[in-house]
């Protein structure tokens, strides 16, 4: 179950994963030897029951509504707010941000590790998580 959940939060969830989780949870709570085993899947079952839409957002839209799944986060620079000061690109630990001074900068999403350092340094609040 953990493996499937991790798959989902990494944005690799597939159609049918929720059903598979529920089926597994049912199997485990029905057949486990001890009470601990029988209740182990409960957190998963109750989160699916209450927040199914969030699961679906992860799987189908590859989006994390709560913004806590790092792999599903995306950090972007708002072209309209960016003044091209280059402060962010100097702060970025993996040199994922590039651009010409006085023109809007861009973030290379393949390099970005979602650390958020650029968000904190930007004096114009032009960088946001989406």
């Amino acid at each position: 179950m953990l493996a499937i959940l991790e798959k989902i939060v990494e944005g690799k969830g597939e159609d049918g994963d929720i059903e598979l989780l529920l089926e597994l949870a049912d199997t485990i709570s029905a057949t486990a030897l001890c009470g601990l085993g029988k209740t182990a899947p409960n957190p998963v079952v109750s989160t699916i029951r209450s927040f199914r839409d969030e699961y679906e957002a992860h799987i189908y839209e590859k989006r994390c509504p709560a913004g806590s799944c790092q792999k599903l986060k995306k950090i972007v620079i708002d072209e309209n707010l960016c003044k091209g000061c280059s402060k962010c690109s100097r702060t970025c630990p993996v040199t994922a941000i590039s651009g010409k001074v006085k023109e809007p900068f861009t973030i290379d999403q393949t390099k970005c590790i979602k650390c958020g350092a650029c968000i904190a340094t930007c004096p114009f609040h032009a960088i946001k998580e989406v």
């Binding site: 493996a3 499937i4 798959k7 598979l20 089926e23 597994l24 199997t27 029905a30 057949t31 486990a32 030897l33």
Partner: protein, 566 residues
Amino acid sequence: MGNKEYMIIDGIPVEINGEKNLLELIRKVGIKLPTFCYHSELSVYGACRMCMVETERGSLEAACSTPPRAGMEIKTNTERLRKYRKNILELLLANHCRDCTTCNNNGKCKLQDLAMRFNIQNVRFPNTAAEPKVDDSSPSITRDTNKCILCGDCVRMCNEIQNVGAIDFAHRGSKMTISTSFDAPIAQSPCVGCGQCAVVCPTGAIVVKDNTAEVWKALDDKNTKVTVQIAPAVRVGLGKELGLSDGENAMGKIVAALRRMGFDEIYDTSTGADLTVLEESNELLKRLEEGKQDMPLFTSCCPAWVRYCEKNYPELLPHVSTCRSPMQMFAAIIKEESKNSSRKAVHVAVMPCTAKKFEATRDEFKVNGIPNVDYVITTQELIQMIKESGIVFSELEPESIDMPFGTMTGAGVIFGVTGGVTEAVLRRIASDKSNTGLMSIAYKGVRGMEGVKETTIMYGDREVRIAIVSGLKNASDLIERIKEGEHYDFVEVMACPGGCINGGGQPFVPYEARVMRGKGLYSADKLCNIKRSEENPLMMSLYNGILKGRVHELLHVEYASKNQEG
């Protein structure tokens, strides 16, 4: 005792007859409920969850750990149960090696079998099977912990029945494995090589070490003379796998098959057992007459027992008979005889036993560094070789063994079953040599599959107390009793429950079939012209020939090296 109690299984009323759990009752009515972790002789573990049944209230119970109650209604095959069983199998397969075709246990694997039964065609979970982690340090068994499904059968066998305790669970949760202490190679553990763990292992996690390639090589080599001896228990152990019935004596067919495969001379270990009977009886009588303190005398036929004694009760070694096992006695003689041949002598032993593989490598049984028994193959490996060679076993015409060592007695044949050694020795030392006397020995309590048997016979005016144990736990319990002061004169120990017929190298069969193997040996004994070892005409010629002046050198052994690995 009042009314009979009934319960309902799948809509059919079934009488409860003292079964200890639902599983037994369900199987009795002809439903093959799947299990991994249940063996009737081991304690109930309830880990595999395959035997779940649904009660009338819709709750689920594990059939192996629920006693039958009068009036209970259960269903064994509902949509829910089938779904759960499939899920469990899928989960097991998700982190199990799926290279079935190259697995040593291919075709004998319970996981494979159940996956087929439940029609698993796709595993929906990511494959998390780790690379094989093979431990082949032991000459007897090979372990691959990554094929383990953690049913715990081997652990319970090793601890409960054999009292060896070489392996146990280590770590917790998803990191759990079966391990020796400190994950040392099995050869450095208290393992005695009995192979009972491999018998109960449902997968390929513990298998018998495979030596067939070496034997084929020797057979293909024109410059070798390959002699072979076949242990008593083999003849009743392999038939089932090759199209005969449980416990059917297939000796003649085995000889025919071996001859076709290219073995030059084929002998019966029962002949070696006759030598053992003579030597061991002499030793017993000598000790009885001298009134030495080294009583009781323990038998030494079983290499796993000898190993167990060395590792756990080294102080008892003087009590263990100095006789070599029948295999080693016979091998010494055959090797001696083969010296006259111009070709290189290779001696193979077909045994029901994995510990024999270790025994063959012991320094005590090497002459100038060359072992008397070059290769030991188990019954399972023989079956494999017969299948590989394409011989249709069931259609073979039985053939007889070779000369000059081709005469054996019934006393030698029954060595393969618990109590057999004792019975053979009793036949030798009994004063009443009539037929009635012979038959009465059989009813002295030496026969039967019980783990502990006791009997008393008169030798002259002396009472001789005899104990027969099989299963090393029974042996150690008896030793504790002896240490507390109980007196026995002669103790037969076989490491495997029921004796060699249930050795670690035999194909796994349910309890009823094991009883049939014992019966098979006793009826083979009935068919033998000669019942007593001392009447074997070959013995006379051996003692006047090869053995003259060399009895001690060729037939006896002092186990010295306690710390040898294995």
